[in-house]
Symmetry: C2
Subunit: 245 residues, 2 copies
């Protein structure tokens, strides 16, 4: 429909990068594009840590489950949901901040994701590519220590950025009828739709050079969800001052 | 730097719309652009409810704290974080889904926000505008009932879309040095930076036609955070099967 929508619809995760460096001015420009995203009640709760130190990159790659592109990406950033800044704002006006609310956790987390997606789109519009790294939540305590994050700040996900040295295909998404409902939630018919989609996903993996996975979407999901999902997260977050009430 | 980055950096919330309708094909296209956003472990946990029924729109506007544009917007959508679909996927493979993890809540919520921001950017690239409505979490129980949401699905925020009938200025954001840190979290100097920014925000409100607010950023934040933040959220979410462990 237009160039921007073409960019949005062409997203693929990029994990292999050329040696071409990314200028700091480009990163700054992308961060400012991120900041321009909507921010609930003007809260601006996202802080980015740009990790340059090679040793720290290695540690982060290991914490994320040995994801080597955390080291090899020209730029690596960590998106942090940050309510520490708001405590400072309260102090500036001698106000006691009421913190620990689940609502604040939702708002700050959403804030980071909106910010991050603007950066991803901006990067792709410049011919860059990247991938978000949720794996940093594997050892989130170690990540927190390494980056020196205070209370009321947690690392949501990382972001590898660089010039792509691979050209993966776009993974097909669920049928529109599964994700868009009219007036009420109604999943009658979704099982059949997911069956059809599973076939599409199998074909995608079969055709993809290199192969690897060949399971359908519902199989991948079922395989993932019969296992525990980072069971340390609740205790960790409560220890940082989130999700207490 | 290019047209897409111009769009990203020109975002303003739009709450007043012309009568020009938005074709369903345009909405469908935007939803597909939303689907193309990154999705952690291919989870695709976002479901949209498009609310057409005028009576339901009125109720939602009221639940959101009498936000009239929920009624007057040509299109109103609710982004839901949805793990019910994953339960279905597990059933399709006779797997027991382990649910209730905070990690899953984070992943599904982030998924919706990435999806939503792609839609916002896509809409703006087509000359549309809109605003996200976190206010639907004011009476989230009533919203859940009205939309018929099952367990493991919660409404994250709403989205008003239409052709703009207003042209608000862009609100200035925090200085880059406050949101982008190198290698470690370091907020020394942020208080002075926020002082300077506060002055900028005051000028923005003073210059804005219509006026209204004239408080600085830190004042708005301090004023908001001395109050409780939707204290029903934790109990609500746990009742829907989230944040249990």
């Amino acid at each position: 429909m237009n160039q921007t929508i073409d960019i949005l619809r062409s997203h693929r995760s990029i994990r292999k990068f050329t040696d071409r460096p990314v200028a700091q001015e480009v990163i700054d420009e992308l961060v400012q594009a991120g900041q321009a995203a909507p921010t609930s009640s003007f809260i601006q709760a996202c802080t980015l840590i740009q990790v340059n130190d090679p040793e720290n990159r290695s540690k982060l790659a290991q914490y994320a489950g040995n994801q080597s592109y955390v080291v090899s990406a020209p730029v690596f950033l960590v998106f942090c949901a940050d309510m520490q800044r708001h405590r400072l704002a309260c102090e500036m006006h001698d106000q006691q901040m009421l913190s620990g609310y689940t609502e604040q956790f939702v708002t700050a987390t959403v804030d980071c994701a909106l910010f991050a997606q603007n950066m991803m789109v901006g990067a792709e519009s410049l011919g860059l590519g990247g991938v978000f790294i949720g794996g940093i939540r594997n050892q989130i305590d170690n990540v927190t220590r390494l980056l020196g994050l205070p209370d009321l700040v947690y690392p949501v996900f990382g972001f590898c950025i660089g010039y792509p040295d691979q050209d993966p295909e776009i993974r097909p998404r669920l049928p529109l009828e599964v994700v868009l409902k009219q007036d009420r939630y109604d999943d009658a018919g979704d099982r059949a739709r997911i069956d059809g989609y599973d076939q599409l996903v199998r074909e995608y993996y079969a055709q993809r050079s290199g192969g690897g996975k060949n399971s359908a979407w519902s199989e991948q999901i079922a395989d993932m969800l019969r296992k525990e999902a980072r069971p340390h997260m609740l205790e960790y977050l409560q220890g940082r001052g989130f999700l207490l009430k």
